[in-house]
Symmetry: C2
Subunit: 341 residues, 2 copies
């Protein structure tokens, strides 16, 4: 750091213009003669100028920062979502400050404070630890993805539609009994719609069904042990029925499939399996698993659209005080592979 950075002052001195003119070269180049643009342009790389956006932010108040709070990147859903959010840089040029949080509300509030200190213009929340009421109280542009969002704008998969497609497929394939395996999702979480749609659809078609909502556990191996119990139950309980099993995600579906195969050496006709998420595991399983694919790219783009609108409204002379939250649902798509007929 022997030599300080080159600044507008240096360029100004070098070119015999004022700092203002140098600034204009970047922000309103049309207001300079081509000749002078050329001069400045040359000076810029003769002196090796590098922008300082922080100074710019301080002066004009637009940080172009967006905060992201994500619970983890272990689940494919989150890492893919982050990927797609980062990819929107190409369109909007917002920079992303990323925090991971699943250690509770206090930590998350700290992160938000930190983000605010860096003058973020907006926030995208994927984590579940703070209520939307709390989040709304920050009064900044904010979009929730796939989480409770009573008081803030949100984008979620159309979970109802997804589960309906899965269930309908199993019914069309003439399963005698339908089983849905899931954790005990709270009713206010978007994913609860998967359970609702499953029940509704079974009821409507008069198909016997069973809900198995007692999955829980911290590690894969925990979950797998539980799944083994669940599988054995089902396998014994409905020996000569055709069983249509719809699982909450592809990891569960893969476990279930592996258990079937470990027992039968193949996937017998008496089983059909549908997962959810279109995670890599669904495709990489011993038999590629039929699943419901969330359109993560669409969700990410929609979320940024919503956020950008809020952020631009902020920059108006006359910003609408606080627009009512907008909620968007993105339809998922059925991806048929080999665990259904």
């Amino acid at each position: 750091m022997g030599k300080k950075q080159v600044t507008f002052a240096d360029i100004a001195e070098y070119t015999h213009f004022s700092k203002t003119t140098i600034s204009r070269y970047f922000n309103h180049p049309d207001s300079l003669t081509l000749e002078n643009q050329e001069k400045i342009s040359r000076a810029l790389d003769e002196l090796g100028y590098k922008k300082n956006k922080l100074a710019k932010v301080l002066a004009n108040g637009k940080s172009e920062f967006v905060g992201i709070i994500v619970p983890n990147l272990y689940l494919h859903y989150y890492s893919e979502m982050l990927t797609q959010l980062l990819a929107t840089y190409a369109n909007y040029h917002y920079k992303f400050l990323v925090f991971m949080s699943d250690k509770g509300a206090a930590e998350e509030e700290n992160y938000i404070d930190e983000l605010l200190a860096y003058q973020i213009e907006g926030l995208i929340v994927l984590s579940h630890t703070l209520s939307s009421e709390k989040l709304a109280s920050y009064h900044i542009p904010i979009v929730a993805i796939e989480r409770e969002s009573m008081h803030i704008s949100s984008v979620t998969s159309d979970n109802y539609m997804g589960a309906l497609q899965a269930t309908s497929l199993l019914i069309r394939d003439k399963c005698d009994i339908l089983i849905h395996i899931n954790v005990d999702v709270p009713k206010y979480v978007p994913a609860y719609d998967r359970i609702r749609a499953f029940e509704d659809t079974c009821t409507e078609h008069n198909i016997p069904y069973e809900l198995s909502l007692n999955v829980s556990g911290d590690s894969y191996n925990d979950l797998f042990s539980q799944m083994k119990v669940i599988f054995n139950n089902i396998d014994e309980k409905y020996p000569d029925k055709k069983k249509g099993v719809f699982l909450a995600n592809d990891t569960y579906a893969n476990m279930f499939l592996n258990l079937v195969i470990q027992k039968y050496g193949c996937l017998p006709d008496s089983y059909e399996i549908v997962g959810f998420d279109n995670s890599p595991i669904a495709n990489e399983a011993i038999i590629p698993i039929t699943t419901i694919g969330q359109q993560i790219d669409v969700i990410a783009r929609t979320a940024m659209d919503l956020l950008v609108k809020q952020m631009e409204n902020r920059k108006q002379r006359k910003p609408e005080p606080d627009l009512a939250p907008t909620h968007k649902k993105i339809a998922p798509v059925l991806i048929r592979r080999e665990t259904t007929s």
Copy 2:
């Protein structure tokens, strides 16, 4: 945005101190009487003060930003590495600006420029598109993870050690023929050591071996088709030998395992399989796969250590001009599961 932010000036006026004293409250609180600290503290939340770190950065030059450039988050290795890097926030309080880049050098240089414009203090590079020579030419604190790094500091897995463990295990298990399946890794990439170690170890123990380095392809399904050909070759070529197969990563290992099982209905004694990475897929496969686990958390922490040292050196009165690059290797661990005896 009706009311502007609360600033030191407001607090100063409110408390009848000077702005300097308010500043000191944050940076050298000990230099104030407890009484005055209290006064200011009260004023702070009575006025609802929020820090502006960007102004602070502009004034003192320390942005506390670190840039990260990662090729993708699709591979577990990268998403886990990002997770672990973000987790170092707890220790160092550096904020991370994350870019994803795999669309070539031009894009990546743009990202770096953008990062520099935000006054990042250091950069962590996981992508492969820019040479370490180019990267070194930016003259900023920088650490490469698991990539070519001739001219910059780096942290990588000890690939040689990892492959040696895998190969040795297969030899101990009395395989007759060892096969290593990989892409055609360039010699200057750290992962090339996996091939070297495999060959060295086989040679040293006088075990027949075969290299299959023609894997390539963009999609899982592409790769899977190729793997099928490779598997069939091997299966036909060594019908009554015990085959020890060491694959470059767990995705490949899982493919191979699935092919074996699809053919034999189980994993016969004539096959042993070892993967690399300890990705989730290794544990979630139809038979849990023995693999070499990279200590991603250690790698991430080591990388940040290295980077922090460089960054702190920068902040000295008398910074050592440019320290020679440091290279660290982190030993991976063998994770025995069920695809080896």
